[in-house]
């Protein structure tokens, strides 16, 4: 767990948010390209969950383990929830839910780095 990983995921999430926001503004339907974009992020987040858990086990840092893992799990759960909710909403705002979810992922990723570094202890 380090700066490039956390900020890389945050930037990726913001990019997907911008893509989803473009859908919202242009009243585009929730299409395959957006779905695949969310899928790519989800795969990265699953990798983060596994990698983060292993890193937590190995590190000698004083990381709040429960908080750290709960953030990792929350981040994995958010994208599928957003996709289900986004598709359920038939108006332009369905993709708006994805925007909110992706920005949440970005915020959580930056906070996760803070937890790793013990910034909130």
């Amino acid at each position: 767990m380090n700066d490039p990983v956390a900020y890389g995921i945050a930037i990726l999430a913001v990019l997907v948010a911008v893509f989803a926001g473009w859908h919202t503004l242009r009243r585009r339907e929730f299409g395959n390209p957006l779905f695949y974009a969310v899928c790519v992020l989800e795969i990265v987040l699953l990798a983060l969950l596994v990698g983060g858990s292993i890193a937590l086990g190995r590190t000698s840092r004083d990381v709040d383990g429960v908080l750290f893992i709960s953030y990792l799990v929350t981040m994995v759960v958010i994208p599928p929830a957003a996709v289900v909710w986004g598709i359920a909403e038939k108006s332009r705002w369905g993709t708006g839910v994805v925007v909110v979810a992706m920005l949440t992922i970005a915020a959580l990723s930056v906070r996760l780095l803070g937890i790793w570094k013990g910034a909130y202890a």
Partner: protein, 135 residues
């Protein structure tokens, strides 16, 4: 296009999503604090965190299920809470040794807690006029 004047559809779906995020964030933070950090002389921020968490959970439920009066009450409490706690945390820093969602007008959450109740009230007002005026 939402066909009902319902707080949970259209833009309301996005609003419910944001409220849900804050419901989880505030109550999860509160639970962690209550388990790990409470000491007798620092009870205020933790009780407040728990209260804020409950307010967000109820507001999310009210908006999602179109309970307009309950939504109005909880969003009203949220508005008063964020302004009162924001002011208090600036005036008396001793009172809030630890962060809550509403400290410093929600600065730790990029001031979304300050903006959210206004958006919520606007949305309740907007949806009360009927389907014709909805975006």
């Amino acid at each position: 296009m939402p066909e009902r004047s319902d707080t949970s559809h259209g833009f309301g779906r996005v609003l419910v999503a944001i409220y849900a995020v804050f419901a989880v964030a505030a109550s999860a933070r509160s639970i962690v604090q209550l388990i790990t950090e409470v000491e007798s002389d620092t009870v205020v921020p933790y009780v407040l965190s728990a209260f804020a968490g409950v307010v967000y959970v109820v507001a999310t439920y009210a908006l999602a299920r179109n309970h307009r009066r309950l939504a109005l009450v909880t969003i009203g409490i949220e508005l008063v809470g964020v302004i009162a706690v924001g002011l208090l945390s600036l005036v008396d820093t001793e009172l809030f040794p630890d962060q809550t969602v509403w400290s410093d007008f929600g600065r730790g959450y990029v001031f979304i807690p300050l903006v959210l109740p206004f958006v919520g009230l606007w949305w309740l007002r907007r949806t009360s006029r009927g389907p014709a005026s909805m975006v």
